[in-house]
């Protein structure tokens, strides 16, 4: 596997401009001759489809939801970063670039991150022009707020629904292109394989989720905008349908998978209430501005929080990180919560929870002020838990939220398969080992509106306008379609005893225990043994009811869980091979005497890229060395 990042020459601030000049263009009259398939309609997919349609390309976009407006980007709460420096507090493109590289614990590619920071301002301009109702101040200008990992206010927001408003903006732009005929939208459709010949993407195999029809579609380029894989843990803040299937199928066809072990565990989520739980709900990071995190000092203290006197409480973040206190970064706050719960000091029925207490803030500022700041979050908490957070402290616990790892892409966002592009959370490129708050929306839209539509032209132009697409009657399509149909039928024929969900839950438990907030060599090794056993059991004992020629929710889930059962093992292998702690990846063997993450820049200052070599073969680990020419490698400290 050849990994050439294709980073343009020149000083970092000129790379993107130079590259845009160097790339080939497609003549406007020829654009419609090129067919591009886009899988996924979240921020990255919808913005890419809309922009490619506006430019005149011939676009087909697929999503598994009933409407492109529902992709999980919609659930992002906090905001979107940009280097506008409207508040005049010293922000700049360089500072956003620097903060993002540092926040990622020096495991991202400098040139990509700089381009992201450069484009950030254009995103805000474009979204405002679309009518996205960002928060404004009384003078009618845009408001900003602060987020973790930055000392400037650069986050634009739309109440607690920034993701929704940005996605609706992209959805509306996409809708305009659908009406214009430049984009054909296919809802309730799931990509089940990518068709590759001689390491060039030729098209996709898609299953219509309503009729069950398996179809082949040829294209000149394929774009995956299929999101993250957090649902490998079963419980996460992801939507129920989020899955790794498209990315994993591409991996099995030759696309390198980079840093699969980099997962973000968000510290403030509502704890699990019982075995029935199907998903976890995030409570915004902003709550830690006024809430104090604590647990009882005594093990197994079952008293009500109000009965525990001040000197018997352990405000552990304030104790361990006096200068950042309750606003310690996400990875550190999450690990600290796990530590106190592992010691047996966790709260709530399950013992897996810590208090986020607003008592002092309410006494100092009054309930009215707290309600004005966080009222909607307090209401949401009460709706889910039936506890009043004005009277009792909230209970929170970390939960899987975002995956920094993804398919490897070069500077052009092309994977190791020619003509297969990967954008948004599905790729690995910009966040290194830890993503800063309000940067996911920025990356999805940068990729979709501004990067991909430019870089893909260079590839399409190189094919030539007389280029012919591979007919779907040819062998690579026929084989791929046959394989998909066989797999679907096999799932239905096993007729075993265990439900799909029971396998998914068991996999989730293995992953959470061994590849979650802290990882050890022995735990990962045991997971690498356990997962194949579970996978074998799945293929001999899963029970999938119903038929293949109808809407079949068990069958959909079974296919996704089958891929998670392979992918989980790859994650564990990646976590085992990375003998260091960096960002969201914490290996217990690699920590300082004070329990902090200990990076190993000598041996691991690279992206690990996995190559599939066969179902029963160990995948091969390649590396893309990361060079830091503009930001100096340093240790993060929050003491």
């Amino acid at each position: 596997m050849k990994l050439d990042a294709n980073i343009p020459e020149g000083p970092i601030q000129d790379k993107w401009a130079n590259h845009k000049m160097a790339m080939k263009l497609v003549n406007p009259a020829n654009k419609r001759k090129y067919k591009v398939i886009i899988i996924g309609s979240g921020l990255a997919g919808a913005s890419a489809a809309a922009t490619m349609g506006e430019l005149g390309y011939n676009v087909d976009c697929y999503c598994f939801q009933d409407s492109p407006r529902r992709a999980h980007s919609i659930a992002a709460q906090g905001g979107i970063n940009a280097a506008k420096n409207y508040p005049g507090d010293g922000d700049s493109i360089y500072r956003l670039f620097y903060d993002t590289v540092k926040g990622g614990d020096f495991r991202s590619r400098e040139a990509n991150v700089y381009r992201l920071a450069e484009i950030s301002n254009q995103i805000i301009d474009h979204c405002v022009a679309q009518g996205v109702p960002f928060a404004r101040d009384y003078g009618g200008l845009l408001g900003n707020r602060s987020f973790g990992g930055a000392q400037v206010s650069r986050t634009f927001y739309a109440r607690g629904q920034t993701g929704q408003q940005l996605l609706i903006g992209a959805y509306q732009a996409l809708s305009r292109q659908i009406a214009a005929g430049s984009v054909r939208m296919h809802t309730r459709s799931e990509m089940l394989d990518v068709v590759v010949a001689d390491n060039v993407a030729k098209g996709v195999i898609v299953r219509n989720l309503v009729t069950g029809q398996v179809e082949s579609h040829a294209a000149d380029a394929v774009v995956l905008a299929t999101g993250g894989y957090g649902n490998v843990f079963y419980l996460s803040t992801n939507a129920m349908g989020c899955n790794v299937t498209a990315a994993y199928r591409a991996y099995k066809k030759g696309a390198g998978f980079a840093n699969p072990c980099y997962t973000q565990i968000h510290p403030t989520c509502i704890p699990v209430s019982g075995d029935h739980q199907s998903k976890l709900t995030l409570m915004s990071e902003s709550l830690r501005n006024d809430g104090r995190v604590w647990v009882p000092q005594e093990l197994g203290d079952k008293r009500k929080p109000a009965e525990i006197p001040e000197d018997e409480r352990d405000y552990y973040l304030e104790r361990k990180y006096p200068s950042f206190g309750n606003l310690a970064p996400r990875d550190i706050a999450s690990r600290s919560a796990k530590e106190v719960c592992d010691e047996g000091r966790g709260v709530g029925n399950t013992g897996l929870g810590v208090y986020l207490d607003f008592r002092d803030a309410i006494n100092r500022l009054g309930e009215g002020t707290i309600s004005a700041r966080y009222g909607n979050l307090f209401d949401m908490y009460e709706r889910i838990t039936a506890e009043n957070p004005y009277k009792n402290p909230m209970r929170i616990y970390p939960a899987v939220h975002y995956t920094m790892g993804g398919l490897w892409v070069d500077y052009n966002l092309m994977s190791t398969i020619k003509g297969l592009y990967v954008i948004g959370e599905a790729n690995f490129s910009d966040h290194g080992a830890n993503r800063l708050g309000a940067s996911a929306l920025m990356q999805g839209l940068a990729d979709g509106y501004f990067v991909l539509p430019q870089t893909i032209a260079d590839y399409l132009a190189s094919l030539g306008s007389n280029h012919e697409r591979m007919p779907i009657e040819e062998q690579p399509f026929v084989e791929a379609e046959e394989a998909v149909k066989t797999r679907v039928n096999t799932l239905l024929e096993i007729n075993g005893k265990r439900t799909v969900d029971s396998f998914h839950k068991e996999l989730g438990r293995i992953m959470w225990e061994n590849c979650g907030m802290s990882r050890t060599k022995s735990g990962l090794e045991s997971a690498i043994e356990e997962i194949p056993r579970l996978r074998r059991e799945f293929w001999s004992d899963v029970k999938v009811n119903g038929a293949s020629d109808t809407l079949n929710i068990s069958l959909e889930k079974a296919g996704r869980v089958a891929d998670f059962l392979e992918f989980g093992e790859l994650m564990c292998r990646d976590a085992l091979a990375r003998e260091e702690s960096a960002g969201g990846h914490f290996r217990s063997e690699h920590q300082t005497s004070e329990g902090e993450a200990l990076r190993n820049d000598d041996d691991f200052c690279h992206a690990a890229v996995w190559e599939y070599t066969g179902d029963d073969e160990t995948p091969v680990r390649h590396r893309e060395e990361l060079e830091f020419q503009n930001v100096k490698l340093a240790t993060r400290s929050y003491k």
Binding site: D66, H72, Q164, I178, A179, S278, M380, N545
Partner: protein
Amino acid sequence: MATYKVKIWRQSGPNANGHMERHIVKGIDGDMSFLEMLDHLNEDLEEQGKEPVAFDHDCREGICGACSLVINGQSHGPETTTTCQLHMRSFEANNISEIDIEPFRARAFPIIKDCVVDRSGFDRIIQSGGFVSVNTGNAPDANANAVPKTDADTAFDAAACIGCGACVAACKNASAMLFVSAKVSHLAHLPQGDAERRERVQSMVNTMDEQGFGSCTNYGECEAACPKSISTDNIATLNREFIRSKIGPTT
């Protein structure tokens, strides 16, 4: 742990006859969400070798708008929220042990299977004009135009619509006026939406009619059912925009 007598709509396909199917659902904790109760029922059905009940859901945090169930006769059930944010304690507290579950019913929302309906009519309404025609490129600086905060807030209140269709299901005419008015109102309150306001409102209203949604007769059931509290004030705005587009000045 409570037990519920559930009657739920089963329909094998778009053209099949449907019926209410009875189930006893046991072991339900008050902390379970309504959809987790249905997961529990489906897990039971799967273990018995039966097909689970199909229903739409995705984010399970009240924002994607996929939920589309009528519960005991009300869109999204007895509380003002999406189905995924409704919890079983709400039934426990009111001593309700019988639950009837049906899909959103409207001519413009044909049933695909069980409780899954086709809401693509909403997408076609947006495609007919629910956008600002601006290509990705070099838009003017985001702060080039100040937008008064009250306008921005009013636009936001309308833009909060999640497109679930509870308004249509609750309306005895199956009207989509609240949905259409929310988008028209969102864009009409912002300078960016001004240039196309005449064409937008006419085109969206025409498409709404073509898609088979009914007329508005001001009952206000839509607002009562809306999980995002979209106000019927938007319908007044829509009517004003529509009349203005027909008789007002052309510039």
